[in-house]
Symmetry: C2
Subunit: 140 residues, 2 copies
Amino acid sequence: MQRRQAEQVAAARVRATGERVTPARLRVLAALLRRGEAASHHELERDLAADAIDRVTLYRVLDWLVGQGLAHRISSADRAWRFTAADRRHDAHAHFHCNRCGKVLCLDEVKTPRLPAAMPRGFRAEGLEVTVKGICAGCA
Amino acid sequence: MQRRQAEQVAAARVRATGERVTPARLRVLAALLRRGEAASHHELERDLAADAIDRVTLYRVLDWLVGQGLAHRISSADRAWRFTAADRRHDAHAHFHCNRCGKVLCLDEVKTPRLPAAMPRGFRAEGLEVTVKGICAGCA
DNA sequence: GGTGCAGATGCAACCCTGTTGCGCTTGCAG
DNA sequence: CTGCAAGCGCAACAGGGTTGCATCTGCACC
């Protein structure tokens, strides 16, 4: 997404929550929108390098965005959360994790199966995460 | 698995690698075999409490076991690796992650789909991880 | 049954991701 | 304009995992 468009969309979405509209929220959401792929905290920090916002604030803003449904948190294998703007329904597709560079992105083509009907007695399924691991185009 | 049996199986498998047979390797693999479910580093440390082995050694032994194909590393959402003895083919079933207590176990009933045939150009799939999240029987 | 040494272990110190506590600042309702 | 709850920045901390290095030990060879 282009810079201008990302900023406008971000502003609209943050405003729509009815919560406070702060620069940090706007800038973080805009940064997420500009990136097509899932961004780690560290990558976002770099994206926001110009007039950086505090590490902790970034974590809190990301938490807030996830809480508001404006972003999704993906747990990747390298022990770092990754985040995407909530552009599309995130239950319905798989993620790709590159074993070499650690990059995570969405595989829209790969549909995930629905929640398993048959769970062991006493277990309740709430969500499903499908991750394909391999080597991405950049690393191949 | 019973203690005696676990020790015997562990000894046989470690010997079969042709690499060095050390007490740490035997004890860690036996501990994994005794547990039915995936164990975190911390849980294993507790299991081995009697005459504990060093934190770092435990990490290294686990790495070695994974490298030898004697154990599998599962990345759970709480940013901690979990490990299982490689009893069965681990590609073929899903894992369950409890959102409340963080426990991870194998869902043998839930078959995972085969690797997606259609990947974006330049991407190579090497493995597939399917995780069902929810509340386990103990926490319900 | 020795013995040498590559490889395994233990210890201390470190890194990285993420969190908490707390005083200062600010968006926004009135 | 103003007050104040909510958000922000800083510092300090916590947990999981890794690295460097000196010491120890399985085991291949004698």
